[in-house]
Assembly symmetry: C2
Homo-oligomer: 268 residues x 2
């Protein structure tokens, strides 16, 4: 099983069949609000606890309201328990109010599987992680970024125009992510990785809070040890909403997770 | 409200508060199985019936088992009823078995909204729809395609290598989609549009059935009248699974919907 600080802050305890408790850490917050991918990893951990298979293959979340740091409950319901895959509904609840509703498909990732075809993935010019600039708080709009003191998140210098008030306009943030103590990633922390980066809209125009409405993550392979490389990319800002896609490669250059999100934004 | 044959085949009737019945058409099937996007449009129609807002903004579906053509029930549960957006859980059930589980965020799309920034969207060289080749059944592997007699789905000739046994290897199918009687699209039929195309893996290697495990659709704008243009794109085939992204533009060239899916495939 996974160990380390990330495993600790996403730990859940089954208190009755299918019902779990967890403790949302105040350190895994952005602007005081728990990071959505962090919450999703905690929910995923509960979901894999109620079916025979071990790995989240796909998790879709709709965010109803932001919980506060502190105790939370995760209620699960097995929708179908199959031979090769199972489906679970899981919701995070705090003080009786549903905060995050999810559907999870759980199956098995083979340790030795190789990509068969990856011709549709974006290709990024190789850059050295040592040249990345570490993100710490506060954000360009003054928001405290407690989570950035926990992880080591570095941005490719070619995407850092926003820090000088000159976004490139490409809507792309490319960089690297390492967990506390450089712990190895696993399928649950990969779920977090897909929502760890700042909004890629920073590379278009600097705005405040970009609250996630929906986030879907696919975990595609077991990651190799070491930091992951991440590309967060905005596609369309339209009438107060933006969608972003995110790709995560492990240290061997293999795509291990990706996802898409719809978020609110004060533009358009 | 929407009218026409598509509205008819996705019609639902509320038989008790939050519980609907519908009739899955045998004509909206691929290989005898109801199309996943068609089912999702029917589910979305039930979901918007139980909250104040009118348009599906985001819908995420996990497919548990394929229903058969014939009667089905849709059970909804309002998760949160908000001022600007609401969230609903909706599941399609047949003969007591849950077939499709969904979460839906419902809100309002403004009629006059213009895209604010679309720099992250793929750009396709303009091609004339009249040059598109209409897809009819059976598939390259002999599968009957009843649905293709209902819609007018045309593929850009540059993506048709698979029909000659020579896929381009790009993993892209670009083309156009029109509803029966050339009915106008609306946010519900756009959900269908995101899953209407053949698997883009045809442009990599011809395989049989590619069953959807998870499908998430974002509806971004109210579509203009007329057929829509669609790009279906595979990204990564890995260990028996593939993900595909899909973009849908209306007749004015505005992106109106997009989505992502994870599916099973007998490759890798």
């Amino acid at each position: 099983m996974s160990t380390g600080q990330f495993a600790d802050v996403t730990a859940v305890t089954e208190v009755s069949p299918g019902n779990f408790t967890g403790e949302i850490s105040p350190e895994w917050t952005i602007g005081g609000k728990p990071n959505g991918g962090y919450l999703l990893a905690m929910i995923g951990r509960a979901a894999v606890g109620v079916v025979p298979q071990e790995q989240v293959l796909a998790i879709s979340a709709h965010y109803l309201r932001s919980p506060e740091p502190g105790p939370a409950q995760i209620e699960t319901e097995v929708l179908r328990s199959g031979r090769s895959a199972s489906q679970v509904r899981a919701r995070l609840v705090q003080e009786g109010a549903a905060c995050v509703e999810t559907l999870v498909t759980i199956g098995s990732l083979e340790a030795e599987a190789k990509p068969y075809w990856e011709g549709g993935l974006p290709v990024i010019e190789p850059v050295d992680r040592a040249d990345g600039i570490r993100i710490e708080g506060p954000s360009p709009t003054g928001m405290p970024l407690a989570m950035m003191s926990q992880v080591d998140l570095r941005i490719d210098p070619s995407c850092l125009g926003f820090a000088l008030g000159k976004p490139s306009g490409r809507g792309e943030l490319h960089g690297w992510l390492a967990l506390p103590d450089n712990a190895d990633f696993d399928p649950l922390s990969l779920i977090f990785a897909v929502d760890a980066f700042p909004p890629a809209t920073l590379d278009v125009e600097i705005t405040g809070w970009v609250p996630t409405l929906e986030l879907t993550v696919y975990v595609r392979a077991l990651p190799a040890p070491g930091p992951v490389r991440v590309l967060q990319k905005a596609q369309l800002v339209d009438a107060g909403r933006v969608d972003e896609v995110c790709y995560v490669w492990d240290s061997t250059g293999r795509l291990v997770a990706h996802g898409t999100q719809l978020a609110g934004i004060r533009l358009g």
